[in-house]
C-alpha cells in the first residue's frame, strides 16, 4: 500500500506540474550558480568560476567605432535615449536553495518535479504505445491464427532477433531528435513482450466456452475480440504497462545521457543525471542525488506495485 501511495503521489505531482500548479517556473534562475542545498551548513566556502576571467578581463582598449559603416547609425541618439529609460531589473539571487541549484542557479527541487513530469510522461506514453501495439498485434494474431498469426509471428521474430539496445540505437541513428521521437522509439521497439503474452491469452480464450457462446448469439469478430476477450486480459496488460513504464523511464535516462534525449527547453531526470556527471567531480552532488533518488523511489514503488498487482490478479505467479 505504501507503494501505491508513493505512485499516487508522483502521479499527482506530475499532473499538478503539467497543469502548472507547481514548478511551472522551474527554468527561472532563483539562486546563484550551484547554490548549495539549504540544509548544508551555510559556511560552505564558495568558489565560483576558476577566477580566470578576472585575469582575462583586463581593461581593454577603446571600443571600436563603427558609426561610419553602421546602418543603424542615423538613429543612434534615439537608441541611446530609449536605452537609458529601460531600467534593468535588480535581481538578488539567493545563496542557498531547498535542494540546491544547478549551474544556472535554477532550483533543483523544481527541476526534479518538472523532470518527473517529463520522465513519467515519456515512460507512460511510450508504455501505453507499446502495450497498445502489443495488445492489438497479439489479439489479432492470437484470435485469427493461421496466416495472420504467421505474419505477426514473423514480425515478432524479426524484432526480437535484434538485441533490444541495438534496435533502439538503430532507430535513434536515423530518426530526428525530440520528445516524440523518444516515445516513438521506445514504443516501436518495446511491444514484443506484450505481444507474446497477449497472443497466448487470446489463443487460450478464443477456444473458451464463453467466446463460443458469444459467437452463437451472433457477436461479431470485433465484438468478441474487444468486448469479450479483452476485459479478461486486462490484468496482463496492466502488469505489462507498469513494467514497461519502469523500463522506459530507465531507458529515457540512458538515451538522454547519449544525447538522444528530450529537447533543451525541457528537463527530465535523464538530462539532470547527464548534467550531474560532471557536477559530481566538482563536488556538486545535489542534482545527482535529487534526480537519482526521486527516480529510484518512483521506480521502486511502481515495481512493488506491479508485484502486488501480479500476485492479486494472477494467482498462478508469484
Amino acid at each position: 500500500m505504501a507503494s501505491l501511495t508513493v505512485v499516487a503521489f508522483f502521479v499527482a505531482l506530475m499532473l499538478s506540474s503539467a497543469l502548472g500548479f507547481v514548478a511551472h517556473d522551474w527554468s527561472a534562475e532563483v539562486g546563484i550558480s550551484y547554490a548549495p542545498p539549504a540544509f548544508i551548513a551555510a559556511g560552505a566556502r564558495e568558489t565560483t568560476g576558476a577566477g580566470l576571467e578576472t585575469a582575462a578581463a583586463v581593461t581593454g582598449p577603446k571600443p571600436v567605432d563603427i558609426s561610419d559603416v553602421d546602418p543603424l547609425a542615423p538613429r543612434y541618439a534615439e537608441w541611446r535615449e530609449r536605452a537609458g529609460k529601460i531600467e534593468s531589473v535588480r535581481f538578488h539571487p539567493s545563496a542557498t536553495l531547498p535542494l540546491g541549484g544547478d549551474k544556472w542557479g535554477r532550483d533543483v527541487l523544481k527541476k526534479t518535479i518538472k523532470g518527473s513530469e517529463v520522465s513519467i510522461t515519456v515512460g507512460l506514453v511510450a508504455a501505453l504505445l507499446a502495450v497498445a501495439l502489443g495488445a492489438v498485434f497479439g489479439a489479432t494474431a492470437g484470435y485469427w491464427g493461421g496466416r495472420v498469426d504467421d505474419m505477426f509471428e514473423w514480425l515478432y521474430n524479426v524484432f526480437t532477433s535484434i538485441p533490444y539496445i541495438l534496435l533502439i540505437l538503430a532507430f535513434a541513428a536515423v530518426l530526428s531528435r525530440g520528445l516524440a521521437t523518444i516515445i516513438l522509439i521506445l514504443g516501436l521497439t518495446g511491444w514484443t513482450g506484450v505481444y507474446r503474452l497477449m497472443r497466448a491469452e487470446y489463443i487460450k480464450h478464443a477456444g473458451r466456452e464463453y467466446v463460443r457462446a458469444a459467437q452463437a448469439i451472433g457477436a461479431s469478430h470485433a465484438a468478441r475480440m474487444f468486448r469479450h476477450i479483452l476485459p479478461n486480459t486486462g490484468h496482463v496488460m496492466l502488469v505489462q504497462l507498469s513494467q514497461h513504464v519502469v523500463q522506459f523511464i530507465k531507458a529515457e535516462v540512458i538515451l538522454s545521457f547519449l544525447g538522444l534525449g528530450v529537447p533543451v527547453s525541457m528537463v527530465s531526470w535523464g538530462t539532470m543525471l547527464a548534467e550531474a556527471q560532471e557536477e559530481l567531480v566538482i563536488g556538486k552532488w545535489w542534482q545527482l542525488v535529487a534526480a537519482g533518488t526521486s527516480m529510484a523511489v518512483l521506480v521502486t514503488a511502481v515495481s512493488l506495485l506491479t508485484d502486488a498487482m501480479r500476485d492479486a490478479l494472477d494467482p498462478r505467479l508469484r
Binding site: 534562475e29 568558489t47 580566470l52 563603427i66 546602418p71 536605452a83 549551474k103
Partner: protein, 656 residues
Amino acid sequence: MSILPRINLIAGYGGRNSKPPAGIGLLSYLRALLKSKTPRLAIIRPMPSTRLRVRAAALLACMVAAVAGVAAAAGPAQGLKVVRFAFRAVETGFDPQRVDDLYSSAVNGEIFESLLQFDYLARPVRLMPQVAERVPEPEEGGLVYTFHLKQGVYFADDPAFRGRRRELVAGDAVYALKRLRDPRNRAPYAWLVENRIVGLDEAHDAAVQSGAFDYDAPVAGLQVLDRYTLRIRLKRPDFNFLYIFTMPQTAPVAREVIEAYAADTMAHPVGTGPFRLVQWVRRSKIVLERNPVYRGDVLETAYADPKDPIDQRVIRELTGKRLPQLDRVELYPIEEEQPRFLAFMNGEHDLLQETPAAYINQVLPGGHLAPTLARAGVGFQREVAPSITYDLFQMENPVVGGYTPSQVALRRAMVLGHDRGAEIAIVRRGVDVPAQSPVPPGVVGYDAGFNSGAEQDFDPARAQALLDLYGFVDRDGDGFRERPDGSLLVIDYMHSTGGQTARALAELWEKSMRRIGIRLVPRAVQFSDQIRDRKAGKFMLASAAWAADYPDAQNFLQLLYGPYSGDSNDSRFRLPAYDRLYEQALAMPDSPERNALYREMCRLMLAYAPWRLGIDRVFVNLYRPWVLGYKKHPMYHISLRFLDVDLALQQAAAGP
C-alpha cells in the same frame, strides 16, 4: 586543425576508396582465425559436455588472442623514455592526404615531414623550413614559389622499398599534392590546392571523367626542376600560399608505399619524420617509436623570447640534446571527459592537453594550481588558441537575414541580448575569453586593439531599446515580441546533439532571448543533418566554431566572403563592400596596409552582424614534472620531437 575538436569528434571524417579493394570478408577472417587453432566451429553438434566446454573455451581464447593482437609487449623496458597521454577524440588514420581531423594530423605531423614548419618557440608563429632548405620567397608577385629540398632525407625503412634506402625527392612532394586532388582519395583538405595551382584542377577533372587519376601526366604548375627542386605556379597571386606547406596534408609521401598498401594506406604511414607508427589499435591506442633512420634535429633558439619563462625552461631543458629524445609515445583516444581527466590525475598519463572545462575548478581553483597538483610538481600552461566559436545567422532567411536597418537591428539586438558573460562564467567555467573580432589571437592580422565589447557584450537595455525602436514590440501581450508587420517572431536555433556544452549554450540562448522578449526554440540535430541544413541554408541561427587551418586572418575572414556562400560561408553573408576588401587583401603580402583592410572587414561584420561572436578558446594544458621541453604551439596539437623525459624524476614519483 580543422573545425574544433568537438565537431571532429562527431565527424571523424575520412576517406573511403571508391571500391572496397579485394575485401577480406568476415568469412575469410573467421577462417583464418579458426584454421590454426581449432578444428571446426562445430559446437552445434551434441558432444560430451566437457569437450564442448573445452572447445568453447579454446575458441574464445583464440578469438581473444587474435583480437588482442600478436604484439603482447608487456610494458616498456626500463630506461626507455616514454610519454603517455590522451586525445580527446578518436583518430581517423595516418594517410596524411586523406584526413583532416586534429588528432590524426597531429600524429601524421610526427611521422611525416612537410616542406615547411613553424618554429617551436617563436610567437607570433614563424615559418621555418623542414625538409625544404629554406622558406621560399614569393616570385613574380606571389605567383611562383620554388622549393629546394634538403639532400639526404630518407624515408623510414619499409618492405615496400625492397631493402633499399629511399631518399625523399621533389617528385614525392608533387605526388602528395596530386593525391590531394585525386577524386578517389576524397581528400577533405583538397580545397588547400583547389583552384590554386596551374593545371591541377584540369588533372582532377580528367580523373573524374576517366575514373583514375593519371599521376604520370605532368601538371604545368608542378614542375620538378631537378631531383631536389620543385617549382609551383599559381593561377593567382597568393601570399598565404606557403602556410599550406606546414600542414601534414601536403607532406611528401612515397608512391611505392601508397601503392603497396593501397588497400589500407591509413594503417601504413611511412615518412621521414622523427617517429614511426609501431602499433595501432583503432580508436583505442596509438604507439609511436623513435624512427631510427631519422636524421636528427636540435632546438632552434634564435626566435625565442629570452624573457619568457617557458622559453627559458625549454631552452634549459633541451639545449645540447639531439632530438627526438623520446623512445616511445603512447596515445589513447578517450572521448569521455571524466576518464581522460582522471587518467592524468591518477598519474597514468604524463600530459593533459585541453583540460576539460568541467574540472577546471579542481585544477586551477581561483586561477592558481591546486595544492595537490603543485605538490606533485605538475606544470601548467594556459593557451589562447587560434580558434573561435560563433553563432551564425542565415542571411537569406526572411526573418533573421537581410541588410535593411530593421533587419540589421533584430540581429544586433539578439547579439546584445545574449548573455555572453554567463556563457563564459557558467558554460565555459570562466576559462575562455570573449572574442573581440572574427580573427582570434595568434594569427597574422590579429588586432589586439580591436575592442568590440560595445556591440557584442551583454546589454539587455540597449537590446530592448533597439527592438522597440524598429517596431519589434509585443502587440498581443503574450510576453513575446512580434515582427514590425505584426507577424509572429520565432527564432529557430540549430545546435548539435550530445554534449552538455551544446545543450547549455542552447539553454542560454533561450533564456537570454526570453529576457528581451524574443521567442527562441532550440533544435537539436544530428551532426550529418546539421551539416546538410547549414550547407543548404535551412536554418535561422546555428552554432559554429572555427580553428585556424593556417595562422592568417584570411582563414577566418573567408567565412564571410560572398562568393563562398553555401560553401565555407554558411551564413551566406554577401556585402559588396566586404567582398571588395577581401579581394584587395588577398593580393597583398602581410603588411600594415593589409591589416587595415582586415580591420575594416571586422568592422563591417560588427555593423551587419551576420555572426554573434562567442569566445576565443583558452586551453589549460598540464604536464608532469618529468616532462621536459613542453611548450604548446598554437598550430600544432603536440610537438613530440621537442619533448624529453627526466627518467630519475619519473621513477622517484613512481616509487612511493
